[in-house]
Symmetry: C2
Subunit: 207 residues, 2 copies
């Protein structure tokens, strides 16, 4: 009897909604959850380790991964490649464990095309006004950049209909609790329970 | 701004799986959850009150409810009618609160036709062998009845594919926790969050 497949959880949303913090808290409070490590061709920064922060690869290796369809999604940013290797994700899921990945909206949509059985969760701010406040608080952006990011956030909200769930990041612990409930519920979905169902049906003689 | 609609939770499954106990525990641990009271034409038994255990109605009233499509499902058992009045359910859901009802497989399938937006949860025993033990333990059935009920349970397991979720009743508290996670997750589903999404999108100017 095969174990029930794990679940790929994709956390996404407009930038500035705190999906990174939520992802970290989720990993901390759910020890069996694995974090999907991205591959990149950029050089390691101080303190970054291969297989922890990223899989650091050469451009040649990365292009091979693209051509062999080994990536769930990839993008080129300022001359470097970034992507999500499929093999690592597949392996964990086959072992019956869950994987989370945190990615921008464009990446999430690409992953959904290749991996529709993932659970796609859109993290949103309580309001776009609140998002503006958060971006202002960071105070690392110019007013033009803030305006641009808010404009993007408004446009990105329309992407929500490509997702399965929407979670408001009002308080991080509450948002994490919702995501944990979503994972638990998904494990009970009939679509993911075919092994359980056949086990019960076959248990008449053995039970 | 309208409140988010409540959710109709339908608990069902083969007889003997303990869905009644689960329903009671769920109601106890979730004070805002409402129990859908059935209508019946049978006479009240000692201690039963109208609007608590059942809505006691005349056959004439019941037939009017059938003809006016006021019932989510109904059945005739030993000359008496039993059914689920739609109005009470609709009213609670419109107030943004949730309703649970516990019903046999046939009733659940009928409700799904009229109310596909409900959350249909199939409660199953850990194994059909375990179900046999539970039925034997009750010791209220003849061996023939037990055989018949087990046969039905096996056939009914095929109905699981009409449901959204399957929950194993191994331990009641664990099963109740799963159902609560399902309700919480459903509240985050994009399909049920249109009001939340438009609220966020409209918050740019007001936020």
């Amino acid at each position: 009897m095969m174990a029930q497949q794990g679940i790929l959880i994709v956390l996404s949303g407009p930038s500035g909604t705190g999906k990174g913090t939520i992802c970290q808290e989720l990993l901390r409070s759910y020890p069996n959850l694995h974090y999907s490590i991205s591959a990149t061709t950029r050089s390691p920064r101080f303190g970054e380790a291969n297989g922890v922060n990223y899989w650091f690869t050469s451009k040649e290796e990365f292009r091979t991964m693209i051509s062999e369809d080994q990536l769930l999604e990839w993008a080129e940013v300022y001359g470097n490649y970034y992507g999500t290797p499929r093999r690592y994700v597949d392996q964990i899921l086959a072992d019956g464990e869950d994987v989370v990945l945190e990615i921008d909206t464009q990446g999430a949509i690409k992953i959904k095309e290749k991996f529709p059985q993932g659970v796609f969760i859109y993290i949103v701010p309580p309001s776009l006004g609140e998002l503006a406040k958060r971006i202002y608080k960071r105070a690392t952006d110019t007013p033009e950049n803030i305006e641009r990011r808010l404009g993007c956030a408004t446009a990105e909200m329309n992407q929500v209909y490509s997702y399965n769930y929407v979670v408001v990041n009002d308080e991080v612990p509450a948002a994490v609790a919702k995501i944990k409930a979503i994972i638990e519920a998904e494990k009970c979905s009939v679509a993911r329970s075919s092994e359980l169902i056949s086990k019960i049906c076959n248990s008449v003689c053995n039970g």
